[in-house]
């Protein structure tokens, strides 16, 4: 075997090995979470309140809290993010101000989530007097995922060929008609996929809701957007750091983690199915 072929073979083996390592790590993670979590999961675990200072019972309030937080985050972040993306790609002229806005959005995406938590505490909880509540928490999560929604939506919008826009304008369509009838329908799947993935991220975040929305334990289920809630990610944190009965709390934490992972994976799965369905009908 000559040297060139040997190098080729080595490079291939090396890359293959790297992929296997990644697959193995992911597999290991799932194995641990599933094997430790699955034992505790049953109907009661998903639908009951916690009992005996969270050493027994279910995690229903945390599931409900995470559900409410996610839904409210969607309500705030999607209209805002998608509108901003439409403005930036379709209307804004490419001047210095818009470039600064773009750079700021990109940098915002890199800010650690705990910083968003502090920001939410200062603005929503204290300054606007929303208190520790679903409202404050979902606004904070909304701000956290805005940059992702804007970026992915902008990408999806820019992917619509310029020739479609020109064709529409040349027929006497207004800019808004062109956006509404040509650009948005053709970028819908991309916007949706990006949005769902970012919402998955929001669902799993702990730091932004730590000071703004969650409570360690509450007997009452939330009855308005001003209620404080329990949430899955924080519930795991609480179970692992507080309380006095680790032997009964750790399994509950793994069970909670499993529920959370499946929730986020479920969201991503929806995004993937959706994207594939739209991709099939799209040929340009």
């Amino acid at each position: 075997m000559n040297k060139r072929k040997l190098k080729e073979k080595l490079a291939y083996l090396f890359l293959e090995l790297m992929v296997l390592i990644i697959l193995f790590s992911i597999g290991l993670m799932f194995y641990f979470i599933i094997s430790r979590g699955i034992r505790i999961i049953n109907w009661e675990f998903l639908t009951q309140m916690p009992r005996k200072a969270m050493t027994a019972g279910g995690i229903f309030p945390a599931i409900l809290g995470t559900f409410y937080l996610t839904i409210s985050t969607i309500c705030f972040a999607l209209p805002l993010g998608i509108s901003a993306a439409i403005y930036l790609t379709e209307y804004a002229t490419q001047n210095r101000l818009i470039r600064i806005v773009r750079v700021s959005i990109n940098n915002l995406a890199g800010v650690p989530s705990v910083v968003f938590g502090l920001f939410g505490l200062a603005i929503f909880v204290k300054f606007l007097h929303f208190g520790v509540s679903i409202l404050s928490g979902s606004l904070t999560l909304g701000v956290l995922i805005l940059p992702i929604i804007i970026q992915t939506s902008e990408e999806a919008l820019s992917a619509v060929p310029k020739s479609f826009r020109e064709a529409s304008l040349a027929l006497g369509a207004t800019k808004w008609q062109t956006i509404q009838k040509i650009v948005l329908p053709n970028s819908f799947s991309g916007i949706l996929t990006g949005s769902i993935i970012s919402i998955g991220r929001a669902t799993g975040e702990t730091a932004p809701i730590l000071f703004t929305a969650v409570t360690f334990y509450t007997m009452r289920l939330p009855n308005s957007i001003f209620s404080e809630v329990m949430a899955l990610p924080y519930h795991i944190y609480a179970l692992m750091t507080e309380g006095t009965h680790p032997e009964s709390q750790v399994p509950i934490a793994y069970g909670t983690a499993l529920v959370l992972v499946f929730l986020v994976l479920g969201l991503n799965l929806i995004a993937i199915i959706w994207r594939n369905r739209f991709r099939r009908s799209k040929k340009w």
């Binding site: 002229t93 020739s163 020109e166 064709a167 304008l169 040349a170 027929l171 006497g172 040929k283 340009w284």
Partner: protein, 261 residues
């Protein structure tokens, strides 16, 4: 034929007056003056980068969507400057249709491609009317016979030539007065090209047509008037026959005989 054209002499549809066009500081068009007459085909020829696409895109204000441009001078449609402040640019683009270099049907059905312009301009009041107008437009673009049984299939499944005729039908549907063709055959094979050329001959009975082409034979075949553009300047503008047989300018002759370009 030349007599026919001269009879139409006073029938000017569009007029370009002292047109200057700049991309940033770069001047692309230099003091262009050109009359476009009704119901004939006016061809714009010239080497690549001479400004012919910029010129034709100024006629329906498609250049407006590009940032960093400056335009001076007047372009009149029926004696009214289309760059006046009180002009509705959307209405101008409806009156002056455009067919682009590459066929660009929307990723919709054949029917919806035509119906789009009718719907956004509120040109039909009911579904029956809409269907009728879609059919008429497709017939006028010589495409109806080929697609009448598959109106609901995707326009992207059509061949390149069919797609371009669909784009012509789409432009016809919104009842323009003028149709601009920006190198409409540059991505088509010879057979599809000849079909488009035939169609242009038929369309000039009803519409005023301007065509940009890099293909001199095409200009000679389809147009009554030809403008020769070079480096942003209008070198010569005359009856096509004259441009191709007896041009006044040496440089025009050099170009049409293929000495450069």
């Amino acid at each position: 034929m030349v007599d026919d054209i001269l009879q139409n002499k006073n029938n000017i549809k569009m007029q370009i007056k002292n047109l200057n066009f700049y991309y940033g500081t770069h001047q692309v068009l230099k003091n262009i003056n050109l009359d476009i007459k009704s119901n004939i085909v006016t061809a714009i020829i010239g080497p690549s980068g001479c400004g012919k696409s910029t010129l034709i895109r100024s006629l329906n204000r498609m250049n407006d969507i590009i940032t960093g441009i400056k335009i001076e001078g007047d372009i009149l449609l029926d004696h009214k400057n289309i760059y006046d402040e009180d002009i509705d640019v959307v209405e101008i683009r409806r009156k002056i249709g455009m067919v682009f270099q590459r066929p660009n049907p929307f990723p919709k059905s054949i029917f919806e491609n035509i119906a789009y312009g009718l719907k956004i301009n509120n040109l039909t009041s009911n579904t029956r009317e809409l269907k009728k107008q879609v059919e008429t437009s497709l017939q006028n673009a010589a495409l109806w016979e080929e697609v009448k049984d598959r109106l609901n299939t995707s326009a992207l499944d059509l061949s390149g030539g069919q797609q371009q005729r669909l784009c012509i039908a789409r432009a016809l549907a919104v009842q323009p007065k003028v149709i601009l063709f920006d190198e409409p055959c540059s991505s088509l094979d010879p057979i599809a090209t000849s079909k488009i050329e035939e169609l242009i001959q038929k369309l000039k009975e009803k519409y005023t047509i301007v065509i940009v082409t890099h293909n001199m034979q095409q200009a000679a075949r389809v147009s009554e008037y030809t403008a020769f553009l070079m480096s942003g300047e209008l070198i010569e503008f005359d009856i096509t026959e004259k441009i191709f047989t007896n041009p006044t300018q040496k440089i025009t002759e050099d170009y049409i005989t293929g000495r450069f370009g």
